[in-house]
């Protein structure tokens, strides 16, 4: 298994002490062993295929029940709401979006483009993608950290929790040189990212291949998150939070001076 947690303190009690070995040397040996574990291959872990987003993959933000923004946010990618009307996009100015704001009717920001067929397809594909992510079987890891994955360094794979997941300060996703590496996080609760927390990508990991399947997501103030958030309800981005990925919510998306940048496909 490739899941490893960065040691937060030195282990200094070896099980088979050598009288000639100092405690410091033992600690160094154990640290080396831990590092070797971090870098070791994982024969039991099958690579996951990415979740097919379909037309939802054309959106940086997609919501079924509305988007509320406290300006100024910076969205790179398309924005859309459906089935709710464009009137449910509030506070978001055209100048904040580098992309197109799609609506199902002639309401919403002045620059909106009415394209109900695209939005219907995208919302349907968003729901299918959620179901796909939630339905992936045989997780590599379950209940990691009892839902608190703070400070961990996670290898690609399928992770499952029957609870919410907390990231108080940060987590690292390490692809170990495989740019196609995929992470799918099945979270049967809220993804709560702490204020200032950072999701760090390492070893060639790409935001487009990281999928957070959640019942709800709250990104703390100035947090820095990467990946595709597939939420069965709301996605809330607190003041100054950034997302390199997509916010695909089956209820509302709330923004407050955020940056959302769609990943490069």
């Amino acid at each position: 298994m490739n899941i490893t947690q960065e040691p937060k303190h030195t282990v200094s009690t070896p099980t088979r002490p050598n009288r000639a070995t100092s405690k410091k040397q033992i600690s160094i040996s154990l640290m080396a062993a831990l590092l070797a574990l971090i870098c070791s291959a994982s024969p039991g872990m099958a690579g996951q295929a990415p979740v097919d987003l379909g037309w939802a993959g054309s959106f940086a933000i997609l919501s079924k029940s509305g988007i509320t923004d406290v300006p100024t946010s910076a969205i790179t990618g398309n924005v859309g709401t459906s089935p709710i009307t464009g009137a449910a996009i509030t506070g978001l100015d055209c100048a904040e979006v580098t992309g197109t704001i799609y609506t199902v009717n002639a309401a919403g920001p002045a620059c909106r483009v009415e394209y109900p067929a695209l939005l219907t397809a995208a919302v349907s594909d968003m729901e299918t993608a959620f179901t796909d992510a939630a339905g992936r079987a045989l997780p590599d890891v379950t209940e990691l950290g009892a839902g608190n994955i703070d400070g961990m360094r996670l290898a690609p794979g399928l992770y499952k929790w029957g609870t919410g997941v907390l990231i108080p300060t940060g987590v690292t996703l390490d692809a170990r040189g495989d740019k196609d590496a995929v992470w799918i996080f099945q979270i049967a609760g809220v993804l709560a990212v702490g204020n200032g927390a950072i999701v760090t990508l390492s070893g060639g990991a790409q935001a487009k291949n990281i999928f957070w399947q959640v019942t709800q997501a709250t990104l703390g103030t100035t947090s820095d998150v990467k990946g595709i958030i597939l939420s069965s309800t709301a996605i809330t981005m607190n003041t100054g939070a950034t997302l390199a990925g997509r916010a695909l919510a089956q209820t509302a998306v709330t923004l407050q001076m955020n940056a959302v940048t769609e990943p490069i496909n």
């Binding site: 295929a49 990415p50 054309s58 397809a121 594909d125 496909n265």
Partner: protein, 127 residues
Amino acid sequence: MSSKILVIDDNPTNLKLVSELLEFEGHKILQAGDAEEAQVVLADTLPELILMDIALPGMDGLTLTRKLKADERTRHIRIVALTAFAMKGDDQKAFDAGCAGYITKPIDTRKLPGQVAELLAKERPKP
């Protein structure tokens, strides 16, 4: 610049949306839901570009591409693979079959018109 483009996709939603997005750009769009239908269209009209879904029922997109590239009448048409799962090596398979380009789904509505324009601007293969 307006061009004649044949979109081949067995998914009706994809066929409709890709066609509409390119029609918005002023292109004339021909449609086919599978390889057989595409060949019927091509017997009548030759487009400048074909957007070819790879995973077609019956004859798949790569086989159809090879067939069109082997035919003197159609070998000059630029063919671009359009496929859902970008797995390792898929792009090379498309190029080996004779595709001039490769667009992976999910399709980015912002980028598709530019990608198509770029492919249309490429020098046409000699007949």
